[in-house]
Symmetry: C2
Subunit: 144 residues, 2 copies
Amino acid sequence: MKFHSTVSHLLSGVATAHKSHLERRLGEISLHSGQVFLLMELWKRDGRRQVDLAGELNIAPPTINKTLTGLIDGGYVTRDRVEDDARSTRIFLTPAGVAVREKVEAQWLEIEEEILGELTEAERLILSELLSKLKHFYFGTEAE
Amino acid sequence: MKFHSTVSHLLSGVATAHKSHLERRLGEISLHSGQVFLLMELWKRDGRRQVDLAGELNIAPPTINKTLTGLIDGGYVTRDRVEDDARSTRIFLTPAGVAVREKVEAQWLEIEEEILGELTEAERLILSELLSKLKHFYFGTEAE
DNA sequence: CTTTGATTATTAGCCTGCTAATCAATAATC
DNA sequence: GATTATTGATTAGCAGGCTAATAATCAAAG
């Protein structure tokens, strides 16, 4: 059997390399990829609970918790307990957390250009569509 | 800026979900994804050094070393020192390491079907091609 | 009102990736 | 031949993913 020509194998290789690449490029602005993905979610709307953010990002609660600790140490977010439910915490952006968005956007654009530079305009659209399909498959079937 | 619609973001999400999915399905046959990727390389040709395997898999030497320890504990491979160079070790499959291939193949086919079931035949080909392109971008030139 | 069950955050521990730093052995140079 | 540089494996430690297990709180029955 030709394992190496399967889509699973190919996708895994690209996945690892892409994550690694992201880490390197985002490290230049002193952030880690997991932190950035969480920040992106908070820039959409902060004040949510950890469990909600985990659901949105399709990752497990302990992962959110660990990543959050790093962001708090970096001064980008706060973890506040609110009166409505003593179990949960609400995650808010600090001014620094809001401000760092500009730096992330610039870096993210560069990263995006690096990847897309390898593809034609048509390929970009097709890739986006196919990835969306896969994402829907994974997020859909496993979050239920 | 719409981070969520970038290819980088999309790819990262799919990457994480795919890895997670692989771990779960391979866990059913008591293996981890990293171990399986290393085994696949050894099934092609064993007896190579760690540094060569690392190069082939595009991962760092410490990662190979750790994964290997797990495979040795599982009884799938051996790490032998040979006379030609006292620094290096040679990695060989045990009979169990050869035998487990059958189980992995069956599971891998199922995993592959699950993913490809979401796509048409044309989409599969295009996806493979685009992923190969990205792989070459990240890894440089390496034909399979 | 009390017991039982769900939910939320957290901790501990594992796997897979990384870099940096060691150590031993080989290769290269003077 | 002695010194220096390079190479290969390893260790330590971090990030990001996971599951399992706790503790605390809230909700629901009884």
